[in-house]
Amino acid sequence: MSSSVAGTVSPTRQAMRRLRRDRSARVGLVVVVLLIVIAAAAPLLVRLAGQDATTYHIDLLDPARGNAPRGPVGGASGTHWFGVEPLTGRDLFAIVVLGLRTSLFIAVVVTLITTVVGTLAGISAAYFGGWYDAVLSRLLDFLFGFPQLVFMIALGIVVPAGFPRWLLLILVLSFFGWAGLARLIRNQARSLVAREFVEAARSVGSSGWMVITRELLPNLLGPVLVIATLAIPGYIGAEAALSFLGVGVPPPTPSLGRSISDSIAWVYTGADPWFLLFPGAMLFFAVLGFTLLGDGVRDAFDVRLRRTN
C-alpha cells in the first residue's frame, strides 16, 4: 500500500512500524510463532522423540506411590522429555504438544468463523440501523450476558453420541463467540457510517452491499484484526475450560484442559505436580503469547475498544 502523497505513510504501514517497536508485542509474536510451529509440527516432533500419545509404559510407574512416575520431574528422561503421565505411563511430551495442536486448531477455526459472522453482523447493523440494529443489539446484549458455560455444558445432552465432539465444540464456541465480536465491530462501524465518503458512495447510487464491502470493510480491517487477535486467547481458554470440565474433546485425543483436569488428584496429594505443570505451562504460554500480541496490535492500530458504552 504505497501512498501517492510524498512524505506520508499509509496507516497500515505506520501501525506495522509501531508494532515492531513494541517490546512486549515482539515477545508475544515470538511466542505465538513458536507455538504455531510446535502445534503444526507436533506429530513430527513426537515421532522425532520416538514416542506416541497412546502407548502405556507401566514399567516407568512406581506402584508403591500409587503409580506415580519413578524418578524426579515426573520421570523426565532422554526418551520421555516431559516425563510420563501417572497411572498410565503415556509420554507426557506427546500429550502436551498434541494437546496444544488440538487447542490451537479449535481456537483458530472458531476465531475465523466468529470473525466473519461477527464482522458482517456488526457492519450491517451499523449500516442499516433502525429496527434491524435495535433487534440485533438486544440479541447481542442477551447472548453476551448469558451464562454461556452453563449452556455449553447443557448442550452436550442434545447431541447424538455419534456426532464428533470437536465439531460440536467449534459450533458451540462460535455460536456464543460472534456476539462479543459483532458488538465491538458495530460500535466501530457506527462512527464510520456518518462520514462523508460513505455519504458520497451512497449518493452516487452504490448498493448497500457495495458500500459495506468497498467502503466500510477496508476501513475496519484494523479493528477486525485487533479484535480477532484478542479473541484467540479467549477461545483457547474456553476450549481448555470445557475439556477440563469433561465436556470438551473426548479421549484419546490429547487435550491440555483434560490433562489438567486429570492432574487434580495428583496435585491434592502432591504425588506428581509435574503432571499439572507441563500442560499448565503450555496453556499459560499459549494464552499469554496471544494476549501480548493482541495488546500490541491494538496499541499499534490505535483502536479504542469499548466493552461498555
Binding site: 442477551f142 458455560l149 455444558i153 452436550g156 481458554g237 470440565l245 487434580i264 499448565g280 466493552r307
Partner: protein, 332 residues
C-alpha cells in the same frame, strides 16, 4: 423519583419478555434430545404398554407446546404428575421433576446453590474491592513502580485460566505450605469460620483473575476523570487531594465499573462452576455435568433456565444501581 420508577418498570417488563423467549427456546432445543426420558425410566424389560404408561405419567405424551405451558405453570403454581396414591407433587416454583433422582429439580438446585453462590458472591466482592482500589492506586502513581506492578498483575490475570491458577494455589498454599484446606465445602450454617476458611483460596483465585479487567478499566477511567474540568475546579476551590480523588473521581469511575460488572455476571457464574470443580465442591456445575452424563433432561433444562433467570434478575439489580448512580440512564 418517578423517572426511576418508570425505568424500573420498563426494565422489569423487558426482563420478563426475555425470560419467556429464552425458556421457549431452551425447551424447544432440549426436547429434541435423541434419548427418550420415558424409555430410561421404564426399566427392563420395557414393554410397549409400560413405556406408554411412563410417558403418560411423565406427561411426555402431550404436545411440546403443552409440555412447555405445563412447565411455565409449574414455575408459578407447582404441578402434579400422575393421579391417586402414586402421584408425585412438585411445589412451586417447580423447575421440573427429575424422575431418575426422584426429586423436584428446584430442591436439587437449592441443595447445590449455596456452594456456587458462596463462591461467586465472595469472589465478586473481593474482586470489585481489589480491582477498583488497585486501579485507583495505579492511576495516582502513573508510570511509577506501583503502576507497573498493577498493570503486570492485570496482564497475568488476563492470561491465566482460573482452573489453572486454582490448581497452582492448591499446590503451593495447600500442599507445599500446608496453609489452607485444599478441597471440600462446609455449609455456613454448620460453621461460619470453616465456611470462610474453605472458601478463601477459591475467592482469591477468582478475584485476582477477574480483577484484572477492573484494574485496567479503573486506571484508564480515573486518568481520564482527573483531567476533566470539574476536577480542576474542585482543586481550584481548595479541596484536598484525597477528597478530589475519593468523592469526585471515584464517582465517575463507578458507573463504567458497574456496567462492566453487569456484563461479567455470566462469566462470574461460569468461573464459580470451574472453581468448584477445582476445589471438589459439589455445586450447580457438578449437578449439571452429572445430569448431562445421566441424560436427565429435566435437571439440565431446570439448571440452565434457573441460571439464566438468575443472571437476568441480577442484571436488573445492576441496572437499578446504575439508574440511581447516573441519572442519564433512567432519563434516556
Amino acid at each position: 423519583m418517578p423517572d426511576l420508577v418508570w425505568f424500573l418498570i420498563r426494565r422489569l417488563f423487558a426482563a420478563l419478555l426475555v425470560m419467556l423467549a429464552l425458556s421457549l427456546a431452551v425447551y424447544l432445543i432440549f426436547y429434541a434430545i435423541p434419548a427418550d426420558p420415558a424409555h430410561l425410566a421404564c426399566g427392563k424389560p420395557c414393554t410397549p404398554d409400560r413405556l406408554e404408561q411412563a410417558r403418560h405419567f411423565m406427561q411426555l405424551d402431550q404436545s411440546t407446546l403443552q409440555q412447555y405451558l405445563n412447565f411455565l405453570k409449574g414455575i408459578v403454581a407447582g404441578r402434579t404428575f400422575g393421579e391417586g396414591a402414586a402421584a408425585v407433587h412438585c411445589d412451586a416454583p417447580c423447575f421440573g421433576y427429575s424422575f431418575p433422582l426422584a426429586r423436584p429439580v428446584t430442591t436439587l438446585i437449592m441443595d447445590r446453590l449455596p456452594v456456587t453462590a458462596s463462591i461467586a458472591l465472595g469472589a465478586a466482592v473481593l474482586w470489585l474491592l481489589i480491582g477498583v482500589s488497585l486501579g485507583v492506586i495505579a492511576a495516582l502513581n502513573r508510570g511509577r513502580i506501583l503502576d507497573r506492578l498493577a498493570v503486570g498483575v492485570a496482564l497475568i490475570g488476563v492470561s491465566t485460566p482460573s482452573f489453572l491458577l486454582g490448581l497452582l494455589a492448591i499446590l503451593v498454599f495447600g500442599f507445599w505450605l500446608n496453609m489452607v484446606p485444599v478441597n471440600g465445602y462446609v455449609p455456613f450454617t454448620e460453621s461460619p469460620v470453616d465456611w470462610a476458611w474453605h472458601l478463601v483460596t477459591p475467592w482469591i483465585v477468582l478475584a485476582i483473575l477477574q480483577a484484572a479487567s477492573y484494574i485496567r478499566l479503573t486506571r484508564s477511567q480515573m486518568l481520564e476523570e482527573l483531567n476533566l474540568d470539574y476536577i480542576t475546579t474542585a482543586r481550584a476551590k481548595g479541596a484536598g487531594e484525597a477528597r478530589v480523588v475519593l468523592t469526585h473521581g471515584l464517582r465517575g469511575v463507578l458507573v463504567p465499573v458497574i456496567t462492566l460488572f453487569g456484563l461479567d455476571l455470566g462469566s462470574l457464574l461460569g468461573g464459580a462452576i470451574l472453581i468448584e470443580k477445582v476445589f471438589s465442591m459439589q455445586g450447580l456445575g457438578d449437578l449439571l455435568i452429572s445430569a448431562v452424563g445421566q441424560l436427565d433432561v429435566a435437571v439440565v433444562v431446570g439448571v440452565t433456565l434457573f441460571s439464566a433467570f438468575l443472571i437476568i434478575l441480577a442484571n436488573l439489580v445492576v441496572d437499578l444501581v446504575h439508574g440511581v448512580l447516573d441519572p442519564r440512564v433512567s432519563h434516556g
